[in-house]
């Protein structure tokens, strides 16, 4: 168990290096354009040189590469071209909202996915099963920005049940802590639902087929022979072994969750990393984009590591294979 964790952690180091190098190559491979982003027609030659020197763009490429790698080790990811805010401070500011949104979406994904799968597997080919399988196929094809926009239109603008954007109401600073938390949850629900729904459809589709597989196992027959209640057989005896691969599935769905959060944050003006990435992309603010891209890739690497380790924790068979 311990050796598995150590081995995976050691593997993480070269992967992070490779990911950082690829990010650098993509940015530098564009002929001149990275340096041109600090360019402006109104600048004199001296000002241009001063700017390039300030951001280290006058250095030869191998120097820039080494300082990029060094900046990752020290956590100092440079300064935004546009707002002059250090990138690490920008990340510290935008990461908590994104983590909150992502964690809520993941929770919703899991809870809703399990509920749909179990209800559908209770009567395969019944009406709920048919409706939910059409629904999960359709939701996978619908663009997330479209679903989010429609959600805003119906639940925020037409019905007025939820706020259409942002994380807090105006003047939320003056509310009591409890009211402020309620305000936050009120703002959180729509974006988290939009982000979690797509994942829930995938989880449900996957878990349903595993549930049906497990139902054919002998220990289910044995449980039924002992006269156990159907409900208990389904929720305890069938669900528990079927849930194991879902841990891996949640790890695998992390890249989509991270990508999806960009779209959802953009629709709901949620002040997270995704929105910052988008604003940086429109302003061609290369240091911010590089920093966030690297963070996204590292998050995915760490997420898949955590999923693998968790899988080994819940499933002893994987532990034996692993060591």
């Amino acid at each position: 168990m311990k050796s598995l964790v150590i081995r995976r952690l050691l593997l993480l180091v070269p992967m992070v290096w490779l990911v950082a190098t690829l990010t650098f190559i993509v940015v530098v491979a564009a002929p001149g354009s990275y340096a041109d982003t600090v360019d402006h027609p109104g600048l004199t030659a001296e000002q241009r040189e001063a700017l390039r020197a300030r951001y280290g763009l006058d250095q030869p490429i191998h120097r820039q590469y080494l300082s990029w790698l060094g900046s990752i080790v020290t956590g100092d990811l440079g300064t935004s071209f546009v707002t002059k805010e250090p990138v690490d401070r920008l990340l510290a500011r935008t990461l908590p909202p994104t983590l909150l949104l992502g964690a809520s979406a993941l929770l919703l994904d899991f809870v809703l996915g399990v509920w749909i799968a179990v209800t559908a597997a209770r009567k395969p080919r019944g009406w709920f099963d048919r409706i939910s399988s059409v629904f999960s196929l359709g939701i996978a094809g619908l663009p997330s920005f479209w679903v989010a926009g429609l959600t805003v239109l119906v639940f925020a603008l037409l019905l007025g049940w939820f706020p259409a954007s942002h994380m807090h109401s105006v003047g939320a600073d003056e509310l009591s802590p409890l009211a402020s938390l309620g305000d936050l949850l009120h703002h959180l629900l729509l974006p988290a639902a939009c982000l979690g729904l797509v994942g829930a459809a995938g989880t449900a589709r996957y878990l349903r087929s595993t549930l049906l597989d497990v139902r054919g196992e002998r220990f289910i027959l044995a449980a039924r022979a002992r006269g156990l209640d159907e409900r208990r057989i389904l929720w305890v005896h069938t669900l528990r072994p079927a849930l194991l691969p879902v841990v891996t599935l949640l790890g695998l769905s992390l890249p989509f969750l991270v990508s999806g959060s960009v779209v959802i944050e953009s629709v709901f003006s949620w002040p997270g990393v995704g929105l910052a990435l988008l604003q940086a992309a429109h302003a061609r603010d290369v240091p911010v984009i590089m920093g966030i891209t690297l963070l996204g890739a590292v998050a995915v690497l760490v997420g898949s590591l955590v999923a693998d380790v968790l899988y080994a924790v819940v499933d002893p068979r994987a532990r034996e294979d692993g060591s």
Binding site: L18, V26, L137, G138, A140, P143, P255, A297
Partner: protein, 314 residues
């Protein structure tokens, strides 16, 4: 959905949509001209009169009244009166799917946007297919060192959330349509190269390949008669699903304003514009979104259908 019919349903859906985009403009009557002053944000099915004047300008409005020698065009913002001598032609037509806030016909835009979106996704899938197959084959046949180097590269590239990679590349290279094809293709070949490598490595040990080799068949013959037919099934399944992903990726980039320039209509950009006037025109964002979903679901059904056929033939 009746299992076993998925392939047919998917192919039918795909053909219908492609025919709609490609043949629609030839079969349908010409759409009304764009008149932002009088015909903006008209609901689907609105009948309008299109008047072409002698200076080439076109007036389009749902409310046109003819009086003795003048014609009155009443728009939401203004009332225009033109003398009848100035009118070159006058016809009644319809915005079948409504008009946008610039008075443009949504039906015509949907078809034009579909042609762009589908072509970009198809070309990008082709790029991904070429790159992925090349990398996969090189890894499978190039010896241990090449194999592990390429596969670690693929691992690292797959660690990037796709949208982040797309945004990074799309920001560095300002995309025109062809650059977008390259960007989408170059960011989606990784899964395919893994698939090709895995398939080739499995096939290499199969009895029929060993038998062919023992019988003295040339490598070209073994590739033609054994590898390619066995690769084509999984590859076409993967390509169908990948096309769906590419359609969504292109739409997402266009929606976020990072796709091709906004004057070229694409479905993603149409949804983005529709969202700005959500309360005044629900049809603007809704229709292109449904078109995207229709396309992606058709492709998913084709992918599932091929998978079913493959597992049956195993």
């Amino acid at each position: 959905m009746n299992r076993g019919r998925r392939l047919e349903v998917g192919v039918t859906g795909l053909c219908m949509l492609v025919a709609f985009c490609m043949l629609g403009p030839l079969l349908l009557p010409a759409p009304p001209a764009a008149d932002p002053a009088n015909a903006a944000l008209l609901a689907p099915g609105t009948a309008v009169t299109e008047i072409v004047l002698d200076d080439g300008r076109a007036l389009v409005s749902p409310e046109v009244r003819e009086e003795r020698d003048i014609t009155v065009v009443k728009g939401p913002l203004r009332k225009v009166e033109v003398t009848n001598e100035r009118i070159v032609s006058l016809r009644t037509t319809r915005f079948w799917l409504g008009s946008d806030r610039f008075g443009r016909d949504v039906l015509a835009q949907l078809m034009a946007g579909g042609r762009i979106s589908i072509s970009i996704a198809a070309l990008a899938a082709l790029v991904a297919l070429l790159v992925g197959t090349t990398v996969g084959l090189t890894a499978a046949t190039g010896g241990r060192l090449v194999d592990s180097a390429l596969m670690r590269l693929v691992d690292a590239l797959m660690a990037f959330p796709v949208l982040f990679l797309l945004i990074l590349v799309a920001t560095i290279f300002r995309p025109g349509p062809l650059v977008l094809v390259a960007v989408l293709g170059m960011t989606s070949w990784m899964g395919l190269s893994r698939l090709v490598r895995g398939q080739v490595l499995t096939l290499r040990g199969r009895t029929f390949v060993l038998a062919a080799r023992a019988a003295g068949c040339s490598p070209t013959r073994i590739w033609r008669t054994h590898y390619l037919p066995n690769l084509s099934g999984p590859l076409s399944q993967d390509t169908a699903l990948r096309l769906g992903d590419l359609v969504l990726a292109e739409a997402t980039l266009s929606y976020l304003g990072l796709g091709i320039p906004p004057d070229i209509p694409t479905w993603g950009a149409m949804v983005a514009q529709g969202h700005r006037v959500m309360l005044d025109g629900w049809w603007l964002a809704t229709l292109p979104g449904i078109a995207i979903a229709f396309l992606v679901v058709s492709l998913a059904l084709i992918g599932d259908g091929i998978q079913e056929r493959l597992s049956l033939s195993e």
